[in-house]
Amino acid sequence: MAVVPQPQHEKPSRVEEARAGFARYKADVKKRGKPFYPYAMFHDTVMSLIVVTVILGLAAIWKWTSYGPHHDGTHQGLLGPEYTAPADPGTTSFVPRPDWYFYFLFYLLRIFKWPESVFLGTVGVPTIALILLLLLPFMDTRLERRPSHRPVAMVAMALTIVSMAVLTWKGATANEALASEVIANVPNWVKQEKLPPQALPGAKLFATAGCTACHTYLGTGSSNLGAPDLTAIGTRNLGITFQVNHLKCPSCVNPGSPMPKFASLGDTRLHQLAVFLEASKGPQH
C-alpha cells in the first residue's frame, strides 16, 4: 500500500504535543513521584477527619441551640429550626425558601421578572451555564496549565465566583413580605381602593395565603416568577368564574403558569379571593 509521505512539520501538532506531555508526566511520576501511601493518604486522612468534625459540630450546634434548651424543635436557634410547622396545603401564609445552595437560582428569578422571560431565569440561564461547564475541556484546549498564563480562564473564574456569591447573598437577604406585616396593610387597601365590605374576607386571605410572595398589591409584597401586579386586576373584568378556576389550577387556564394550585383552600375561600380580586380596580379618588 502506497503511503503518502506526510509533510514534515516544523512544530508538532497539538495532539502530538499533548501526548508527549502526558508521556513525560508518566515518566516523571515514575522517576520522582512518591507512593500514595503513606504520603498523600496522610493528608487525605487529616482532611477527612476535619470534614467529619465540622459536620458533627454543625449537627451539635443545631440541636443545642434549638430543641436542646427550648424543648421546641421549631425554635430558631443559631442554625435555624429543626423543623417548621407541619405541611398544610390549606394555609399558605408560608414564604417558600429553598436550601441555601439554590439561593442563586432563586434570586435569578427576580432578575427575570416579566412573564415572557421567566423561563430564562428558571431554566434558560442555568442550562446554558451547565452546558458551558460540561464543554469547558473542549473550549479551552490549550495545554498551558499555569494560572499566570491563562488570563481569560482566571478572569472567567473570578467573575463566576463573584456572581455566584452575589446571587447567593442577595437570595439569602431578599426581603420577603411576612404575612403579619402584609395583613396590617389591609385597612389601607380598603381605603385606597374603596373595597366593598364583601371583599374584606378575600383581602385578608390574600394577605395571609402567600400570594404576596410573588405578587405585589399597592406596593406590598415582592414580585417573583414574573407574577403580575394585582393592584388593578379587577379592571380586566376576568370574572369570578375565571378567577376561581385560575386559582384552582393556574396552568390549566394559563398554560405554563408557574403559580401554585390553591384548590386546597376550598370553594368558599376561593370565592372570597375572587370577589376581592374582581373588586380591585386600582386606587380610587
Binding site: 487525605d44 470534614v51 429543626e82 416568577l225 408557574p258
Partner: protein, 276 residues
Amino acid sequence: MPYSRKPTRAEIRRERLQEAINFPLDWLEERSGLVGGIRYFLFRKVPADTNWMQTLGSAALTAFLVQAITGVILAMYYKPDPKDAYSSIQNITDHLTMGWMVRGMHKWGASVFIILMFLHMGRVFLFGAYKYPRELNWIIGVLILVMGMMEGFTGYLLPWDQTAYWASVVGINLNGTAPFLGPWLAQFLRSGQEIGADTLSRFYSLHMLLIPGGIISLIGLHLYLVIRLGVTSPPWSREAAGMVPADEEPVPLRPGLTRPVPRTIAAAQGDAGGSE
C-alpha cells in the same frame, strides 16, 4: 523452611502466624486479584509535589460517605407518608437516642458535601486539570455535581413541614416553566395534580435509591480515571511532573532574567571553534 538447628518455639509460632495471615490473602488474590489491586492503589506513585488542595476530592468522598451512612440509619426510622412523615422526623430529632446527631449530620453534611464539591471543582479549574487527558473526568464531575444538587432538592421535601412543602411546590412549578419537557417533568415529579402522598414516595425513592445509585456509579468511574491517569502536579510547581524541562524552555523566567547558562556548557561553547 530448612533450619540449621531446631527452631525455637517462638520461631515456630511466628511462622504459623505468618501463614495464617497469608493464607486468606493468597486465597483471595488467587481468586480475584484484589490484593494486588489494593496494593497497586496504595503504593502507586503520585507526583511528589501534590498539596493540600488536592485533598478536596477525597474530602468530598468522605462527606458523601457520611451522607450514605446517616441516610441508611434515617431510613430505618423515617416514614414516607404524609400522615407520619412529620412525626417520624420529630421523633428522630427529639426523642431517639443520638437521633439528633444522625439527622443533624445528614442535614448539615449535605451542605458540606456541596461546598466541598464546588471547592474541589475550583481547584481542578485552577490547576487546569480538566485538560488532556482528563476531559472525561471533568464531565463526570459535573454530572456528580448536578446529581448532588438533585439530592438536595428531593431530600428537602421529606420532613413534610411547611418549609419543605412550599419550597417543593414552587420548585416543581419552576421546572414546569421549561419549554417542551418542563410540564412533563413537573407532572412526573408531582406524580399527579397535587403534591401529596404519591409525590412524597416518589421523592423518597429518587432520593434514596435512584440518585445515590447514580452518584455511587459515577464516583466509581471518577476514581477509576483518577487512578488510571494520575493527579496533576500544581502547575506552578518548580518540579511539576510533565513540565518541559527548564533547560529546554526558551522563554526567559522574567523579562530581563534568563537562566544562567551552566558552566560546562558555556565552556564547551567556548571551545566550539577549536580544532576538535
